[in-house]
Each structure stands twice: as C-alpha cells, then as structure tokens.
Amino acid sequence: MIGRRLIGAIPVLLGISFLVFLLMHLAPGDPVVLLLGDDATPADVARVRHEWGLDQSLPVQYWQFVSRAMVGDFGQSLKFGEPVLKLVFERLPATVELAVVSLLVAILISIPIGVYSAIKRDTLIDHAGTGMALIGVSLPNFWLGIMLIYFLGGQWNLLPVAGRIEYGIEVKPITHLYLVDSLITGNLTAFWSVLQHLMMPAVTLGTALAAIVTRITRSSVLEVMRQEYVMTARAKGLSERVVVWRHILRNALITVITILGLQLGALLNGSVITETVFSYPGIGDLLIQSISVRDYRLTQVLILFFGIIYFVVNMLVDVLYTLVDPRIKL
C-alpha cells in the first residue's frame, strides 16, 4: 500500500513543481533586475540572465530544473550565491525543532482537555475548557507573537525575543537539532538557552493548533459517546475507564487524526509567519526572504520540501486511518 502511495506521489510532486515554476515565472518583476538593482546596465542584466539560464524558454528551464533535481542538483541560490540544497539543510533542523516542540505543546494541552471537557459535558470544567479553546483558536498567531515579545521580552525581560540560541553559546552539531545535540553532549547551558529561545515561538505556533485539536477532540468524543455500542458497553457493566479508553477514544481518534494530519501542514505554514515575527532562522524565514527577492530556485526547492514533508504526513494519516478504524478501506 505504501509503495502504491509512493508511486502515486510522483505526479503530485511534478504537479507541485510545475505549478510553482509557472507561478514564480509568470509573476511580475525580473529577479535579475531585483538582485542587481536599478543601476545595472542592460548588458549586465543580459549577461547574468544568460549565466543563470533565464534567457531559455520556460519548458527548457523547467526540464533543466527537473532533470537536475533528479540527481540532487538544484543549482545556486540567486540571492545567497550558495547551493540551494545547502541553504535548505542548514535551516531545516531549526524549523523541524520548532514544529515538533509546538506539536508536543499542542497535543499535551489539547487532547486531555478535549476528552475531559466531553466527559464532563456542561460542567464548569467543560465551559472553562471550551472557553480556552475558543480564545486560543481566535488569537491571530502573529499578534500573539508580537504581544509575547512586547510583554515577556520587552516589558518583563523574561525571555529572549529573537534567534535560536544565545550569542556566544556553541552547540556541537550532531543532528543539528540543538535541543537534542545539547542533551547528547551534556551541554545544559546550551539546552536551557535553546529552550528559552523556543518557548515564545512554540507557544505562538502551538496555541492555535492546541485550540483546534481540543475542539475536535471534544466534539468527536461527544459524537462517539452517543453511539449505541457505547451504551452497550456501559450496559455490560464495563467500568467507565474501559468504556472511555477502549470504546470511545479509539473511535473518536479518527477525526482527531484527520485534523492533526491537516494541521501539521498548517504548523509548517504557520512557521513561515512565526519565524518572520521572531527572526527565527528556519526555512519559513528563508522562504519569505527568497520570495521577496524572487529567488525562484530557492523558492522552488523550499516548496518541494514542504510538499514532500506534507505528503509523508498525509500518507501516515491514511495508514493510521486503517489501523484505527478497520471499516475504512483505502
């Protein structure tokens, strides 16, 4: 099944790359003029365009991009003058670290609150839980980030407002995930610094996800609680704990997994704006930089990366579907 899905991914990835290639090329503005500035002579512009292959026809440029991509050669970044793959891999671990910490924050908060709210439906606990979820889902993450920077960073000086680690503290790179690397090497000073730098961005990114998953978990558990097999389980005299864990949660998780799968993509998307607000050196921040100067090579590769990550997540969600609910056939 996974093999079939992997083969099915090829046209999707080609479709993504083609659409992005087309959009980036049809958008107004010349990347060479943007990069060289208004003072560049037409001869300079023509020379650079020729060097970068931008004077070729669009199909030729796309074919060159795809054929090079097959051997892992994505060319040089127009803005940074370095191989794009190197730039992406330098920044990718920061985004992965931020996304994982945000996801953990979101899951740890949301699923217990969602389940408990549903079980204690219409009590004060339920109203508090749903109220918090409502507030969380209504907060624009960039505003939340700005407010956190203003209060926790500016007014109370509790947390660092930008970057990934304090200047001057070094982490020996092993996995390039600073939290993991600092733990492996036993560098607790670095670990604490990285954690402090991650706190505000992770809360900013994870709040909306936590709120959404809380709501979906509650609504899904309530839905399942109304099913006849739950009544049957209770009528059989099973303990409430067994009914909740074995009969309600397992079925309620189908919707939760769908939403988590969908929201993982949103988490990566949200990283774009969160990283911009916090000047966090991940691929989201790199993406905004590359788009602003129309560094289309870098942009294409970044989108392909997002596409690959997202496809893998979707595939895992589909596989999880069948594990959680055997009635569903793919």
């Binding site: 959009l23 049809l26 993406l287 788009i291 997202y310």
Partner: protein, 278 residues
Amino acid sequence: MVRFRHLKVFMGGCILATLFICGVAAPLLAPFNPQEQRLEPRLQAPAWMGGQSAANWLGTDNLGRDILSRIIYGSRISLLVGVTTVILAGLVGCFLGAIAGYFGNGTDEAVSKVTEIFLAFPFLLLAIALMAFLGQGVINIILALMMSRWVQYCRVVRGEVLSLKQRDFVTAAKALGGKDFYILLKHVVPNTLASITVVATFAMAIVIISEASLSFLGLGVPASIPTWGSMLNEGRSYMNRAPWLTIFPGLAIFITVFGINLLGDGLRDMFDPKLRRQ
C-alpha cells in the same frame, strides 16, 4: 443547556452584527477620515491611557491618523473577504469531497491528487505566490484564499463520507433502489453537516486571520485601504513607544474571530438533531 446554547448564538451574533454595522456604516460611525494625516497629534496615546486628546479614543498612529476610525474601516475588508471566501471554498470543497468519498475509485483518485497538490503547498506561500502573480486587490485576495482553503472542506467531508457509506442506513437506501446522488444528498451529506459547520467556523476564522497575515506581510489589499493586518505591521516599529498601535488592531481581529467561533458553536449545537434530542 438550551439557554447557554442560545447565549452563544446571541453573543456571537451581537459581535458580528456590530462589526457588520461598523463595516456598512463606517463613514457615519468613524469620528475621523481614516486617511487624514495630522502631524500635531502623532503617536498620541488614548485619553484613558494618559493621552492628551480626548477625541482620539484609541490614540493616533505615526502619521497622526485616528486608530479607531481605521479599525472601523478595516472591518469592511475582513468581513467581505471572510464571508465570500468561506462560501465559495465551502461549495467547491464539499462537492468534491462528497463525490470523492462516495464514488471512490477513479473519482477519489483524481480528487485526491488535486487536493494533495493544493495541500502540499504551504498555505501562506500559495497565497503569497498567487498574490504576487495576481497583484494586490480584494478580489485577488479572495481568490488566493479560496484556492488554498477549499481543500480543508474536501478532506474532512471525504473522510466522513468514507465512513458513512459503510453504514447500514446507506446500504438499506441502496437496497431500496435509491440512486447514488439521491442517497448522497439526502442521507450522506446531511450527516456531515455538523463537521462542515465546525470546518466552516474554523475556515472563516482562519480566512480572516490569513487576510490579516497577508496584509501584515504587505501582500494583502493596497496600502490605500486600511486593514487590521497592515495596521499591525505599521505599528510594530513603534511597539515600545506606542503599544496601542498593535494592541487595538489585534484585539479587533481577535474579537471578530471570537464572535464567529461563538456563533458557529451555538449554531452547530442548535442545528444538530442528535444534540437537540439529548
């Protein structure tokens, strides 16, 4: 319970009605022209925060423009973009999700491939790329957001339909000779309405926040039109000196989205027949 449900609809409805009135009657309600620049009262704090001008309830920005007036005018864009996008994206997404889930095979494969392509795009990038291609403008932002939001409906409806079509009532309807589209419209889709309402609620909230995000990045509507996102972006540079420039537009977005979610929650509880029976 019934009272609480109605309270949510009432409160959410009141917030939305207030914003709707603000948007429609902005020229009558705004105390100043939102674009009027006055150099003397630049970066004036609200009077209740120690500012000197009682006329500027929420203070002024770096060009002396009245914050309250700009927030009132900004509600127009948020509501217009939010409502239109959710309706258009919902129609497209639910239709495709329902037929993909119900008919399966080739239809599901084709719809899934298209959704996978759209889902694989980072939402902001897709919106940014489309805005770069289409250019700034209200219609363009609606198109860009619609193209990136319809897939959410599609995936959730498809998932629900996949599960629902295995249920006994669908089998019974088929055994009684019901036509596919009749069963889909009459028996399957109505059972997905609770989920669609939840998704639409979130979508409306996300669309309004996304419009603000694009404006925050300078990619939304033209600078000549005041929007909450662009106000936040402009105010960011003066955050320590004039925090009201970022606090109030953000609060406006928050209250709007909060109202929509409250209304959606209440409506879902009211319209869900299973919940009503309990």
